[in-house]
């Protein structure tokens, strides 16, 4: 920043935006689809904003639905960036160091989606300032939701701040000072665990909901996140490798595979432990699990979904762990897709909705999302993908230029 030759942050941002919006035809179609989704999602949200949340499938029994389900899952995806940061910065793994910025981009995108899902879930989004410290009333430390506000926004700042600093330095062709950003990297490692544990505590701390009031919830959140997040990153890396000029070494994807396998197996063990507890000696507290896995009082909207999710979860894990060609992307990528989808269903809808069914008074109802909810959700996903694309694409272009520059100078 001291050098007069430095380009301003504004041009840095505009360049990023320009790179994001330009590309070949396929890329333009991809961007177009994202914008269409975002536009329809925005329209659906205006409908919800004007008429109230009654246009959603939620009711006084199932008071949280698709939005909070996706929020919960995406917090995990965001937290999973730590699985790249940890080896890259602490163990100084060269391979991971190259892709860590992509992981951070995915995390930032996931966090943007998380915050968007919270905003659309609010009954009074215009009152959201009541939640801000200083100008509102912040019920800290009593409410776990306030902890979540702190950790999510803090993690977003960390995951935007550090990469932006590094990229901005590289954009101006100088080395980033590691002493400056290293403390924040270390902090973000702890923070990653914090966001996911805090989000788990959001549910774990409610004795009203026996399905959630379970000390295994936090650890299981972490395990499933460290499987689903790296799975997503593996998919993103492969897409970059295949569709862009940037090449990713297969070694990285292999290392990711090991992380995914370990986390997925721990996740399945914990799932088995939960299922055992619920069904070995079923009590009144097992009704939610019964609803989820077998249906209750003739209501069984989630039953096929959960069995599907668990099946693909197991298949994905087995493929990654035991397949003879498990090192080949041909196996890793489909397995990652299966695992990601499985965990998405299981930890999203499969965790939030049955926690609310049956109601504390024992009443059972099904939850079916409406078109408004589906489109708002699609719009937010498009927004998140757009943010990830913008961050990752700009990062890759800047990094590539910087490397070229460095090579030119040294030769």
């Amino acid at each position: 920043m001291n050098k007069t030759s430095d380009k301003s942050f504004f041009t840095f941002f505009m360049d990023g935006l320009r790179w994001t919006l330009t590309g070949n035809t396929i890329y333009q179609v991809y961007m177009g689809l994202l914008f269409i989704c975002m536009t329809i999602g925005f329209y659906a949200y205006t409908v919800q904003f004007n008429q109230g949340l009654s246009v959603t499938g939620m009711n006084n029994i199932v008071s949280w639905g698709l939005y909070i389900s996706n929020f919960t899952f995406l917090v995990g995806v965001a937290a999973a960036a730590v699985m790249l940061i940890l080896p890259a910065y602490i163990f100084r793994d060269k391979d991971f160091h190259k892709v860590v910025i992509i992981g951070e981009g995915v995390a930032a995108g996931a966090l943007v989606m998380c915050l968007a899902f919270i905003i659309v879930d609010l009954g009074g989004p215009l009152n959201a300032w009541h939640l801000m410290p200083v100008i509102g009333v912040f019920n800290w430390p009593s409410s776990i939701l306030t902890w979540d506000v702190i950790v999510l926004n803090g993690y977003l700042l960390l995951n935007l701040g550090v990469p932006l600093y590094i990229l901005f330095c590289h954009y101006n062709n100088r080395e980033a000072d590691e002493r400056k950003y290293r403390p924040f990297v270390i902090l973000s490692i702890f923070w990653a665990f914090a966001i996911h544990l805090t989000t788990a505590f959001l549910y774990e701390g409610l004795p009203a909901r026996p399905f959630w009031n379970n000390p295994l919830l936090g650890p299981r959140f972490l395990a499933s996140a460290f499987a689903a997040g790296p799975a997503l990153i593996a998919i993103v890396l492969t897409i970059i490798h295949k569709w862009t000029v940037f090449k990713i070494e297969t070694g990285i994807i292999n290392k990711l595979r090991i992380i995914i396998v370990v986390a997925a197996i721990i996740n399945l063990i914990m799932l088995f432990s939960e299922v055992f507890k619920e069904f070995y000696f079923p009590t009144h507290h097992s009704l939610s699990a019964e609803y989820l896995f077998f249906g209750l009082d003739g209501h069984n909207a989630l039953v096929p979904r959960i069995w599907f999710a668990i099946s693909i979860n197991i298949i994905g894990t087995l493929m990654l762990a035991l397949s003879p060609r498990r090192n080949a992307p041909r196996v890793i990528i489909p397995a990652s897709v299966l695992l990601f989808t499985g965990i998405w269903i299981e930890k999203g809808i499969g965790l939030i909705v049955p926690g609310l069914i049956p109601s504390p008074m024992g009443e059972v109802t099904d939850y079916i999302p409406t078109w408004v909810e589906l489109w708002v959700t699609a719009g937010i996903f498009a927004l998140g993908i757009f943010v990830v694309t913008m961050l990752v694409k700009s990062a890759l272009i800047i990094e590539e230029r910087y490397e070229r520059q460095k090579a030119a100078v040294s030769s």
Partner: protein, 207 residues
């Protein structure tokens, strides 16, 4: 024992500091409802100025019983009875009515007492002085204080009624206590409440 409980309290304080949560205060049971109730000994002698408690005390009489030495009032009965005073017809001699069904008490369905030994009219109504009720032991009872008669058999219900666990207080929880007479809810001749449809229904939440 004391050291143990002190240790426990210390541990709770440490837990509170560690977790920073209010919830741990639950550990010390000084603030729960039941201990607050036990510690509350002062009677609200003068009821609070609540603005709307100026209620009409007409059509009430001071009850012949007290609850914990506090008198209360009962809604009167005579002014709402259809044919009071009874002595307008019943004046010590037989009354001959041709259309008994309409003019007299033919509409009364008597479903009181057990099947083997149903109550007769004269079990409760005084034969000699028709403007009064009478107990089995021959004690004369005013219609406004008919709870005294009911309480003869239903003494448990009466005790609950005096204390407030049975029956209904009228309009105000504060101010002078006014309660409904037994007959407000129970038809004395057929005291069981009749079956009926509920006033409303709750939405089936799944359809």
């Amino acid at each position: 024992m004391k050291t143990v409980s002190e240790f426990y309290k210390m541990a709770m304080v440490v837990m509170q500091v560690v977790f920073l949560f209010y919830g741990c205060q639950q550990g010390s049971h000084d603030n729960d409802v039941n201990s607050r109730i036990k510690n509350a000994k002062t009677v609200m002698e003068s009821q609070p100025e609540t603005g709307e408690t100026t209620m009409v005390l007409s059509n009430t009489v001071i009850a012949q019983v007290k609850h914990k030495d506090v008198p209360f009032r009962v809604e009167t009965r005579k002014d709402v009875m259809e044919r009071f005073k009874c002595s307008e017809c019943h004046i010590g001699k037989k009354v001959h009515v041709t259309k008994a069904d309409k003019v007299a008490h033919g509409n009364i369905k008597k479903l009181h007492g057990n099947k083997e030994r149903p109550l007769a009219c004269n079990t409760c109504h005084m034969k000699d002085e028709r403007d009064f009720l009478v107990t089995e032991k021959g004690v004369k009872i005013d219609f406004n204080h008919s709870y005294q008669l009911c309480g003869h058999c239903h003494f448990r219900e009466k005790a609950d009624w005096v204390g407030g666990a049975h029956g209904k207080r009228v309009s105000f929880w504060a101010g002078e206590r006014v309660v409904q007479n037994c007959t407000e809810c129970h038809d004395p001749h057929s005291p069981k409440l009749t079956k009926r449809w509920p006033k409303t229904y709750s939405l089936p939440l799944s359809e």
